[in-house]
Amino acid sequence: MPTIEIAGKDIDVNEEGFLTKYDQWDEAIAKVLAEQIGVEMTDEHWKIVNFLRSDFKSAGETATSRRVQVVGGFPIKEQFVLFPKKPAKKMAYIAGLPKPKGCV
């Protein structure tokens, strides 16, 4: 698996650029990842990313768009506005988590 440097740190990623180690993530890294895919982080973005981080810790899997809606309370439609075209994938990417199983 490749290692890349983001925000001055060496980070392990998979062949698609998703982080592979939960604990290597921090907010500075998330900002860089978001920029790479054209997302400018606002408070609303952070709320969703923080939900994904904490949900992954308890559930052991990346939340799907539906779970972000049902459990997190962020409607899928809003996810599409904040993370256009491919919200599930983009949210996971920025949150430093694996792609959710729905799109594996």
Binding site: R67, V71, I76, K77
Partner: protein
């Protein structure tokens, strides 16, 4: 006496009852199985019935017919599971005690979960599902009388029953309208929330090529928000619109509402389990098998079959207080109909995506993998006999529950290892 209670008499529940009836000491254990009806449906046939391959009678048999005589079958709807009491309550109030519980209540397409989909103006008139018996039958009549227009084949959201079935539907529709000499009157689109034709990359490329070869338009990344029943338009979450004359959809799939009533499910009513043993993450005497669990695998009969093989061995260890040593690897194996009497075969697990090559099946094999052939189509047809006569009854069939790399093409070294592994597998049986 201890009681093993199985909820659901479908593919997984029936196989569990058969396997464990042979293994458990009958002086110590009783087995009870509950289902709301007595109709066992051969689900792979629902894909083919709309094209006239099967008649309705060929796809339904009595559940009791496949359950051993010594197993009690209760025909009743279930109100609630109460794990704290080790009891299941039937509708009407009767309580059934259990020592070990297997939840095999499956998954159901839920058109009611998407606004506009089940609107009486369109539902079973221009919008159909095919993974229910009634939907499949209604679709058969609709296709037979259709004069052409825009056919849209659609997946609402993953996970669904058998992720390749909607693709097969698109291939079969192409062949069906070609044979009826009206293909030029029909446009076929394949609309999916995924990035491509299938969930795994190599397979997605191969199957995507098969779509374009057949002049089927692929519309990826389409997450349905609602259907406008007046104008017959599908509208996505990001406000893209796709008009249709005939929509064949796979609605959102959810586990049984019983799971929600019992407060035992995730956001789609699937029971969270360990993905290698199917033991509930919360209760040490409850398992969920087949489509009812949240394992990240296809909701398909082949997964249930391989899973039950491993479960049955594990269960014997579990009830004698030993750790479970069998680990399910996510093995799935599916024949894919590609139309005009041909088919493909794919074989994969949690870690390994479907690869091209040859699949060894003793006596009748090898079958080509990820490649169209007549043999694979015949394999699919033969499987109905295998299902009714061998698989449900828990008899041995010559396919291992663990995926093997034998015959699959990837790196040369791995193939060498794979071949060695395969010899061990069959020697073991």
């Amino acid at each position: 006496m201890r009681n093993l209670l199985v909820l659901g008499g479908g593919t997984a529940g029936t196989m569990v009852a058969n396997k464990l009836y042979k293994k458990l000491d009958r002086k110590e254990w009783t087995i009870t199985i509950i289902d709301k009806d007595d109709e066992h449906i051969y689900q792979p046939g629902l894909l083919l019935m709309p094209f006239g391959v099967y008649s309705p009678e060929e796809l339904i048999k009595s559940r009791r017919h496949f359950i051993p005589k010594g197993v009690e079958f209760i025909q009743s709807a279930i109100e609630k599971i109460v794990p704290e009491l080790n009891q299941v309550f039937l509708v009407g109030g009767r309580a059934i005690d259990y020592d070990q519980l297997v939840i095999a209540t499956g998954t159901t397409p839920r058109a009611d979960q998407t606004p506009g989909m089940s609107d009486p103006k369109v539902w079973k008139k221009s919008v159909f599902d095919f993974f229910t018996f009634e939907g499949s039958l209604a679709l058969r009549d609709a296709l037979a009388n259709w004069e052409g227009g825009r056919l849209v084949v659609h997946i609402t959201e993953m996970p669904i029953k058998c992720p390749v079935a909607p693709l097969e539907f698109a291939f079969l529709a192409d062949a069906y309208f070609t044979e009826r000499k009206m293909r030029e009157k029909v446009t076929i689109s394949y609309v999916t929330p995924l990035e491509g034709a299938f969930t795994k990359p190599t397979c997605s490329r191969a199957l995507g090529g098969m779509l374009s070869d057949r002049n089927i338009i692929l519309e990826p990344d389409f997450m349905l928000e609602h259907i406008d029943p007046e104008q017959k338009i599908m509208v996505s979450m990001d406000e893209r619109e796709i008009p249709f004359d005939l929509l064949v959809t796979v609605p959102l799939n959810m586990g049984d509402d019983l799971i929600a009533r019992s407060d035992m499910g995730d956001e789609l009513n699937y029971v969270p389990v360990d993905k290698t043993t199917f033991l509930s993450k919360k209760y040490s005497n409850i398992f969920a098998l087949g489509d009812a669990s949240d394992i990240p695998a296809s909701k398909a009969g082949s997964v249930a079959h391989f899973a039950v093989d491993i479960f049955a061995e594990n269960f014997m260890q579990h009830i004698s207080g030993q750790p479970m040593t069998g680990k399910f690897d996510g093995h799935a194996n599916c024949f894919i109909e590609s139309g005009a009497g041909k088919g493909l075969l794919i074989d994969f697990n949690y870690e390994t995506e479907p690869l091209p090559g040859m699949f060894p099946i003793p006596v009748v094999g090898p079958f080509p993998l990820l490649k169209e052939s007549r043999l694979n189509h015949l394999g699919k047809l033969a499987f109905r006999w295998i299902y009714w006569n061998l698989l449900l009854k828990g008899r041995w069939i010559p396919i291992s529950d663990q995926m093997s790399m034998a015959g699959k093409h990837r790196a040369f070294e791995e193939k060498q290892n794979g071949e060695k592994k395969e010899v061990d597998h069959y020697a073991h049986h």
